[in-house]
């Protein structure tokens, strides 16, 4: 039987929730190495649905974009105003190319659905459209007979709110996350790290409860306490502490002495030296503080900054930094009034003195790196474990 999967990801869901902190669909944001969209595509493939397409809302230029999906998944990104039209035509293309059943999933909520059960239920009852539900709440997961184009059209034209014919409901009893706000995104990371989901962090378990993706760099002196995740090519600088279900996603950087506690650092984000990020989601120049339920735009790149997504630009920046490193050292050596004393991290951590820096009459530094020169007045005040 030809069964295909169609994944939809747009941001209407969380606009309605009033907690739209970032300009992208939450389903496309990485959580412990993979987005909900990627995880759902892989789940469909695990159930033997080899032909999967995705339609993703994007404010950028329309066209084919990957969003980290497996190479055999066709993905189209479209502007918000054309989203539903493109979704409908993707369904029609599937029907025309011989699909008998289409599993339609809108993310939205991430549910670890049993697609085999859904298809069986649909076939047994000879229905046109079957929907999944969790308790009283309807989920946006459908099994549609591809020949019933009018039923499908009515679904797409009402943005999956109504169907022309009555949809029987199949109860979902697995893991469910609404993914309606950043709080849900954070909860998703916690659930994955504490293994309450079938899906796992996208990396290798380097010690119990600590996952690290290929290329992740954890410098000497940095501490990663379980459960935690460090994404591919992410960098945890010396003296940093990653703890309590925190997730540092790919290409992110946590600078010296910073404590990341129960937080997510989004991909391509930089968190400055000597900071304390707790109960938050940081990235794209913003911090979403979940305790205060507030989104704060951070303009100071010493605190939180976005790194370039383009690898060429990142390479150029690194090359420029490497080239200027020696001249900078030579300049400091010649013109510095007094050679800066090398800071012992352990001694610094032991200091209970707050971040007063020179204002209190002594020099403090989160650690002896370039970053500490950028933000010299910050020092680790909190101590973890035996540190």
């Amino acid at each position: 039987m030809d069964i295909r999967g169609l994944l939809l990801a747009n941001s209407e869901h969380h606009h309605a929730g009033g907690n739209q902190a970032l300009d992208v669909p939450l389903a496309t944001l990485d959580v412990t190495g993979k987005s909900a969209l990627q995880r759902m595509a892989e789940r469909l493939q695990q159930y033997g649905i080899s032909q999967v397409s995705a339609v993703v809302e994007s404010t950028g230029p329309s066209g084919i974009r990957n969003f980290g999906l497996p190479s055999d998944v066709t993905c189209v990104s479209v502007a918000p105003d054309r989203f539903w039209k493109v979704a409908e035509s993707a369904f029609n293309d599937m029907a025309q190319s011989g699909a008998e059943l289409v599993i339609l999933v809108r993310l939205g909520a991430y549910a670890e659905a049993d697609f085999e059960k859904l298809v069986q239920f649909h076939l047994d009852r000879k229905e046109r459209v079957t929907q999944m539900a969790a308790d009283e709440q309807k989920l946006e997961i459908f099994c549609i007979s591809a020949s019933r184009r009018n039923d499908a059209a009515s679904l797409f034209r009402t943005q999956l709110a109504h169907c022309r014919s009555e949809c029987p409901l199949l109860q979902h009893d697995g893991y469910l996350n609404q993914m309606a706000s950043m709080r849900d995104l954070r909860q998703f990371a916690i659930d994955i790290l504490t293994r309450q989901t079938q899906t796992c962090p996208a990396g290798k378990e380097i010690k119990p409860g600590v996952w690290s993706a290929p290329g992740a760099m954890i410098e000497k002196g940095a501490r990663v306490l379980a459960p935690a995740f460090v994404g591919s090519l992410a960098r945890i600088r010396s003296g940093a502490v990653i703890t309590r279900c925190s997730s540092v996603e790919r290409h992110a950087e946590v600078d010296c002495g910073t404590v990341i506690e129960n937080s997510t650092v989004l991909p391509f984000s930089y968190v400055g030296a000597g900071l304390d990020l707790a109960h938050s989601v940081a990235g794209m120049g913003r911090i979403v503080n979940l305790h205060r339920d507030v989104t704060v735009e951070i303009v100071d790149p010493k605190l939180v900054a976005s790194m370039s997504v383009g690898s060429g630009k990142r390479f150029m920046t690194s090359a420029a930094e490497a080239l200027t490193y020696l001249p900078k050292l030579a300049f400091q050596g010649v013109f510095a009034a007094k050679k800066a004393e090398k800071v012992d991290l352990q001694a610094t951590l032991r200091k209970t003195s707050p971040a007063l820096g020179t204002a209190a009459g002594f020099e403090t530094s989160a650690c002896d790196t370039e970053a500490s020169h950028k933000f010299p007045n910050m020092v680790v005040a909190r101590r973890y474990g035996h540190q």
Binding site: G272, G274, L275, D276, L277, A278, S280, I287, N289, R292, V294, V296, E297, I298, V299, D300, K302, L303, P354, A355, L356, G357, A359, A360, F375, N377, M378, A381, R382
Partner: protein, 132 residues
């Protein structure tokens, strides 16, 4: 004995606290910080953006005040300011109050017990009628 003779200065901080506005603000409050045992309250209710130099300026003010045996207290923190102060681990260095009035009152609130008794005694003797 006059406990509250020293004034409490309440200053409202600007909406955007970057290096330029922080310098300007510091210039404005410097005369108050230079006084003997300065008592300052910074109202952060309007602050919508604060960067590292803004935080450093707050620390500098606190340090200056401490040098002269005074204090700087913060009041009416906006969410933005609170998040940045938490992020930079500086919120624990300041006394933070819901309102400027509470912050100003708090300067006379922490009295040693002996001084409190004396103050009470002074008040009583001032209200009692003098016997003929």
């Amino acid at each position: 004995m006059d406990i509250n003779s020293r004034p409490v200065v309440v200053k409202r901080m600007p909406e955007r606290l970057n290096s330029r506005t922080a310098r300007e603000f510091l210039r404005n409050v410097r005369p108050f910080l230079a006084a003997d045992r300065p008592q300052l309250v910074f109202d952060l209710s309007l602050v919508s953006q604060i960067d590292a130099s803004g935080v450093e300026m707050l620390l500098k003010c606190m340090s200056e005040a401490h040098k002269r045996d005074g204090d700087v207290k913060l009041a009416s923190l906006s969410d933005q300011a609170a998040v940045v102060l938490e992020l930079t681990r500086t919120e624990r260095l300041f006394e933070i109050y819901e309102t400027s009035t509470e912050a100003a009152r708090s300067f006379s609130g922490f009295l040693p017990n002996s001084m409190r008794q004396q103050l009470l005694h002074n008040k009583r003797s001032a209200t009692q009628p003098i016997a003929a």
